[in-house]
């Protein structure tokens, strides 16, 4: 499989703390790449770097062959990279459909007429099963609804690479099942998904490949069943658990 997104020797330090250390990865269209590791191992920072929320100190990010390392956040959106946030982010005083409309109008690439943007946004909310909540403010939504609205917002920009930061965490078992089938169908549509997740059932069931991070560096990579048996991975996780 040819890689759609390639990350080469990426590095980011906050003061003395190296949050992402010389990390490389590649993900292909339709592939679900799991990204796991203990708290503070740099997963979110890595997603921030790929999405363009922050800039790397060194390394390269290539999207469909194009170097996007220096590109601004909103331009990477238009290069079809999008993400959800670990702590759901949304304008608090806007109806849920508002940001999705903005995403349709600004992120989707082709010019959409203002009048049609509402319908298209409604379509994305419908796809995520939250259309009935379109007019609610964000704080009037349940946690799972917020997550679904946020994903609708990301999808409305028609991403080819989608970065999901613990999008499946904090869900009840039945919600988790629904969430997993959503992720599955995204990959089936040919979206390259990078899935940051602590929920191991989801990682095992969804990921074609898993990368394990610890203290900013990649410590293991491979098929989920093999990687999750790796003693070093187990050590990293146990070290985290009694912290």
């Amino acid at each position: 499989m040819a890689a759609l997104l390639e990350v080469e020797n990426l590095r980011k330090a906050f003061g003395g703390l190296v949050a992402v250390n010389d990390l490389s990865l590649a993900v292909a269209a339709g592939e679900v790449l799991g990204l796991i590791g203990p708290n503070g191992s740099g997963k979110t920072t890595l997603l921030n770097l790929i999405a363009g929320t922050i800039r790397p100190d060194a390394g390269k990010i290539r999207m469909a062959g194009e170097d996007v390392t220096r590109l601004a956040n909103h331009l990477r959106v238009r290069r079809r990279i999008n993400r959800t946030f670990q702590l759901v982010r949304a304008p608090p005083n806007m109806p849920a459909i508002g940001t999705v409309m903005a995403a349709v109008l600004y992120g989707a690439g082709e010019r959409v007429r203002f009048k049609d943007a509402g319908y298209e946004a409604a379509g994305w909310l419908g796809e995520m099963n939250v259309l009935t909540k379109a007019d609610r403010r964000f704080d009037q939504l349940t946690y799972i609804e917020q997550k679904r609205v946020e994903l609708a917002r990301a999808l409305a920009t028609r991403p080819r690479v989608l970065l999901l930061d613990e999008w499946l965490s904090g869900l009840s078992p039945s919600e988790l099942e629904g969430g997993m089938s959503v992720v599955w169908s995204l990959a089936a549509q040919g979206i390259a998904v990078i899935l940051v997740e602590h929920v191991m059932t989801a990682v095992r069931a969804l990921c074609h490949r898993v990368i394990v991070m610890n203290a900013g560096a990649k410590v293991a990579e491979g098929r989920p069943d093999a990687v999750l048996r790796d003693p070093e991975v187990i050590r990293a996780y146990l070290g985290d658990e009694d912290a």
Binding site: N82, P91, N93, G107, R153
Partner: protein
């Protein structure tokens, strides 16, 4: 389907009725100079000019939630550009020149202030206006050796009024269209959460500067149109900082939710300030200040609720019951966040903590 066709027809009728009513209103307003006394006309000129300024202010500040005190700077640029160029240019050419100068200054200021947020923007915009005023005073005294400019043009109060009325219609239309446009939604998202704005593909800096320029152009043109009303103009008069504050109070009093809401703030405040000015000319500024404080501190529940909503909308919890110290502390917190301590005290503590944490991990 029948219902939706009916709905559409009803909506169309309502829109037509609203447009008809507005056209009628504008037509009535246009005949004001024929029917009123000089005093009433000059009152209406005040109303129109502040209405344009307030709506223009709301175009930028109501959407991006950056409170601008640069209104007097652009108003003054408009007025003073006309005052300086009137001897060499035809009147309309000097209006046009004023708009160009205003837009250029707005572009430079917009680009410079892009990274400022919260209180920093407020202070910077105020400082900028004062700087321009001082600069013009210095220029006139030391370079041109004048105390001010005489403006004698055949552009009477009626003409000023009719032009301001036209400008009010335009700024109203722009505001109306903005709410139904791509740009308007982008501004709303930016006002609420810039990170989300970037993540949906909005070019945040560009959008902010664009709306700042549009807003500034209306303010500048208002100042330019007002210039012929005064025969003698000096920089201290043109760049009167009170204008900036009055506009903010008018907008807050009227509200920002509805496009026409500023009307509710403009008219009472103009009536009030004219009363104060005629009855207590020497204490005018002080009394106006007191009125502001009364509005902010003591108005009954209803308006307090409105103010609370606005403050919440502005994204800053300004807890008034805590007296002066509360807002001061808050102000200091806002001040210190973006520049002196990039992540605030919490950031420093967190960093310290992170320095300790890895070691704790290594031990195990």
């Amino acid at each position: 389907m029948a219902a939706s066709a009916e709905d559409r027809r009803r909506r169309r009728t309502r829109t037509a009725a609203a447009i008809g009513a507005l056209v009628a209103l504008v037509a009535v307003l246009a005949t004001v100079p024929l029917l009123t006394s000089d005093y009433q006309l000059s009152f209406m000129v005040n109303v129109m000019s502040y209405l344009v300024l307030t709506i223009a202010w709301a175009l930028f500040s109501g959407t991006t939630r950056l409170v601008s005190l640069a209104t007097s700077a652009f108003f003054g640029i408009g007025m003073y550009t006309v005052a300086m160029s009137i001897k060499i240019l035809p009147l309309y050419a000097s209006f046009a020149l004023a708009i160009v100068v205003g837009a250029a200054v707005a572009l430079v200021v917009g680009v410079l202030t892009l990274r400022l947020s919260g209180m920093f923007f407020v202070i910077f915009s105020f400082g900028l206006s004062e700087m321009i005023r001082e600069l013009m005073v210095w220029w006139e005294i030391n370079q041109t050796h004048t105390m001010g400019r005489y403006v004698y043009v055949p552009f009477d109060t009626t003409m000023i009024y009719e032009h301001l009325l036209g400008l009010a219609v335009v700024v109203f239309l722009v505001g109306w269209l903005l709410r139904r446009s791509r740009l308007g939604i982008a501004l709303l998202v930016i006002g609420e959460d810039e990170t989300v704005a970037r993540q949906v593909g909005i070019n945040v800096p560009f959008t902010k500067v664009a709306i700042f320029i549009v807003s500034a152009m209306f303010m500048t043109l208002t100042g330019a149109l007002m210039a012929p009303r005064f025969s003698f103009i000096n920089p201290n008069f043109a760049f009167n900082p009170l204008v900036s504050f009055v506009v903010v109070i008018m907008a807050l009093l009227g509200g920002l939710q509805k496009l026409w809401a500023p009307v509710l703030g403009v008219i009472p405040l103009i009536i009030l300030s004219e009363r104060l000015q005629t009855q207590f000319p020497f204490w005018y500024s002080v009394l106006l200040g007191l009125v502001f404080m009364v509005i902010v501190y003591f108005l009954p529940r209803g308006v307090t609720g409105l103010l609370e909503d606005i403050w919440k909308a502005l994204g800053r919890p300004l807890a008034l019951p805590r007296g002066f110290t509360g807002p001061l502390l808050d102000a200091w917190a806002w001040l210190s966040r973006p520049i002196f301590l990039p992540r605030g005290l919490a950031g420093i503590i967190e960093e310290r903590w992170l320095k300790i944490m890895p070691r704790a991990n290594e031990k195990r």
